[in-house]
């Protein structure tokens, strides 16, 4: 390598580094926060209306062709089931993408029922944690997944703040992740509400555009200040979710995690991840430069040494 070409190479490297340094943060900012597709759909779950009939569970089972349940769907004894020494109630699994749980809050005369399913985050952590890109947030608002590419690593199960993705442990040869997909394939993408919403006798589940549901939710709170806690769970939690909740009692009394961030989970690592491409571009250039500089020094030293030796030899002959 001649001196000139090396100098050109180094100059280009420095220019490249500068360009990446300048462009890097800009790109990271552009990735910014995603607050959801503007016309995406959602569901507003009104806990004050739910009577715990479990029809939504039955509708989900039928729509998604899930296996037969242990007990009929009108059997309310399932509400007494607890797990892990009574600390946990039922949660969705590979055989049931939604479950209803019963709570008896101190301040409420009657029990409160809460439907649990995937909340379809605006910026889902399951999606950002998936290294095979199995998840997609569709423009309709659903968080769907491609089980054909799922490798069963279960990272999404750890990433989900609502503990929703379940694993098909019963499948020995092809275990994959299973969860509510908002009935995307059979209903949502055709403009239809999910099966659970359709069947609900109480309209505890209101389906509509997310932005309209927020208006409706705040309107209900304003119209009936005595009936509702002044909060829509899911409006801001974890960057906002497509499924949102209204409640008559404090949300932590009916199983919601209330000590949560309003930032999407990905924001914890977004700044760091933004620097990765920059590092990938700068480091090779920088270390190549160091290497070449070091090599040049060695070459000079070697060259000088050779010259001296040669000179000595010549002198010796004389």
């Amino acid at each position: 390598m001649s001196g000139i070409s090396r100098r050109r190479f180094l100059a280009a490297s420095v220019a490249g580094c500068a360009a990446t340094t300048l462009a890097g943060p800009k790109k990271a900012l552009a990735a910014g926060s995603f607050t959801g597709y503007s016309d995406s759909m959602g569901v507003l779950v009104d806990l004050t209306r739910c009577i715990g009939c479990r029809s939504c569970e039955a509708a989900c089972n039928k729509e998604q062709n899930l296996p037969a349940p242990d007990r009929p769907f009108d059997d309310q004894s399932v509400f007494d089931e607890t797990f892990h020494g009574g600390t946990q109630q039922r949660r969705p699994d590979e055989n049931a993408y939604t479950v209803v749980n019963r709570y008896n809050p101190e301040k409420s005369e009657s029990p409160v029922y809460r439907k649990v399913q995937c909340n379809h985050c605006n910026e889902p952590s399951c999606l950002s944690s998936c290294f095979v890109n199995a998840y997609t947030k569709t423009k309709e608002g659903a968080v769907v997944y491609n089980s054909n590419v799922c490798v069963g690593c279960r990272t999404c199960m750890v990433a989900c703040p609502f503990s929703i993705p379940a694993y098909s442990y019963s499948s020995a040869f092809d275990p994959v992740i299973k969860k509510c997909i908002f009935c995307h394939d059979t209903r949502l993408k055709n403009g239809l509400p999910p099966a659970c919403v359709d069947i609900c006798p109480q309209e505890a589940l209101t389906f509509g555009k997310r932005k309209d549901l927020l208006k409706i939710g705040h309107q209900r709170i304003q119209t009936h200040p005595g009936r509702y806690v002044d909060h829509i769970y899911g409006e801001k939690e974890f960057g906002g979710t497509s499924w949102m909740y209204l409640s008559s009692v404090a949300f932590d009394e009916v199983g919601f995690d209330v000590n949560v961030s309003n930032e999407p989970i990905i924001n914890n690592v977004k700044d760091f991840l933004g620097t990765v491409p920059m590092v990938l571009a700068i480091w090779p250039a920088m270390f190549t430069g160091f290497h070449l500089l070091a090599k040049k020094k060695d070459e000079h030293a070697e060259h000088d040494h050779d010259a001296e030796q040669h000179h000595d030899e010549e002198g010796g002959e004389q």
Partner: protein
């Protein structure tokens, strides 16, 4: 003459009463079949006469459509003196498919003013009936009002043995 006058007055009164009761008989059905949504459960043969005999104000169920004012203070500003209107039945206003794309888009056009969060027909039935029954001590179980059909048995998986307590679901 005075006897004739009395007779005429009596006749006219009778005629008025007859017309009145006839009108009432036409306006107020003895029984209403609530069966347009029947699928998993049979329709309800709603005993309208029995419920009106309970002495409730028509507005308790019919809001402002029967020309009897309104009981809801939020509706008073517009409907305190609303006259009787043609769609007086539940399904005249509460749509069977509240979440169809057309209905959702229509809602977004803001033409409904205060009626934007109106429940669909199924919820309108259940709220009116179940909430009042709960308050008044009426029956509240699903099959107290409508028997489940064979399709309903399939849907709720009545075929599954209810004795299992394995608690497999959950984790």
């Amino acid at each position: 003459m005075s006897a004739k006058q009395v007779l005429t007055t009596l006749m006219m009164t009778l005629a008025l009463v007859a017309t009145g009761s006839l009108a009432q008989a036409v306006d107020m059905p003895e029984q209403v079949s609530l069966d347009t949504l029947a699928e998993l459960f049979d329709g309800v043969a709603f005993d309208h006469a029995m419920h009106t005999d309970l002495g409730e104000d028509c507005s308790a169920c019919h809001h402002h459509t029967t020309g009897t004012g309104t009981l809801d203070e939020r509706c008073v500003s517009c409907h305190a003196e609303s006259e009787e209107v043609v769609p007086v039945s539940c399904r005249g206003c509460h749509v069977a498919d509240p979440f169809s794309a057309e209905h959702i888009n229509r809602k977004a056009q803001d033409v409904y003013q205060f009626h934007v969060d109106t429940p669909g027909l199924k919820a309108a039935y259940h709220w009116s009936c179940v909430n009042c029954h709960a308050e008044m001590g009426g029956p509240t179980d699903c099959q107290d009002c409508h028997a489940r059909t064979a399709a309903g048995d399939d849907f709720y998986r009545a075929d599954v043995s209810g004795s299992s307590t394995s608690g497999k679901s959950g984790h």
